[in-house]
Amino acid sequence: MADATGSTDAATTRRGPGRVLVAVYGLFALAAGARSVVQLTTKFNDAPLAYLLSAFAAVVYIVATISLARGGATWRRVAFVAISTELVGVLAVGTASVVHSSSFPDATVWSGYGSGYGFVPLVLPFVGLWWLRHTRPPRDGHA
């Protein structure tokens, strides 16, 4: 049924291929979150900066997962910010971990551009941004 405002658009980011995209984001939210909890609770003092970045990555994945799963104008904006941050993060941390490897004593999700995770973390933000663009409502819904 055609509801008036937005509710037909609301779910588009989780429909079709978006269903798979959200699942993959969810896996990275779990992976980054679990890794971060282990790092912060057992060896935070070994490399505080790297482990804080790791925790930040976990938050970014969690926000991206939830916002893509929710959809709708507001959540789309949240998703755009989260995924853009993810893109900057994987490029910046990836580069930093290669140039200054001693600051990254063990792998975070974004170390080596996500090499520990089959480089999926490098590809994922591009797919995410493409998907947001692909599912954009015709009148670019600014509520």
Binding site: R14, R15, G16, P17, G18, R19, V20, V22, A23, V24, G26, L27, L30, A31, A34, R35, V37, V38, T41, T42
Partner: protein, 121 residues
């Protein structure tokens, strides 16, 4: 990590993965057979969790214990979460979600194997 349990989880992942591929190709959503596959997989990862904790408690080797436990617990959470998310889409993308689950679990088993082997293998 116990080789029999590793094999059990990997087989319980890859067999339904093949069926998931068939469903994806035919543009079918998750069916009863795939749900049974996911349920059987869940039983095997619960066994893996129990065996893994017993091994962890009974060993004082210097391995990444927290990460090991994280993978054991994560492996138990992934299949039910995958099913809950997959059944919301009655086409190939629902089946693809579970295909991702069935491919990720063997990777998690591999990680558990590597962590248990320790940094020097």
């Amino acid at each position: 990590m116990n080789p029999a349990v590793e094999t059990l989880v990997v087989v319980a992942s890859l067999v339904p993965a093949l069926w998931a591929v068939v469903l994806v190709v035919r543009d079918k959503g998750v069916d009863l057979a795939l749900l049974v596959g996911a349920a059987v997989l869940e039983l095997t990862v619960i066994v893996q969790l129990v065996v893994g904790i017993v091994l962890l408690v009974g060993s004082d080797r210097d391995i990444a214990r927290g990460t090991f436990l994280g993978y054991l617990i994560g492996a138990v959470l992934v299949p039910p979460a995958g099913v809950a998310w997959a059944v919301g889409e009655k086409n190939r993308y629902g089946s693809t979600v579970l295909l991702v689950v069935f491919v990720v679990l063997p990777v998690m088993v591999l990680r558990l194997h590597q962590i248990w082997a320790g940094p020097l293998g």
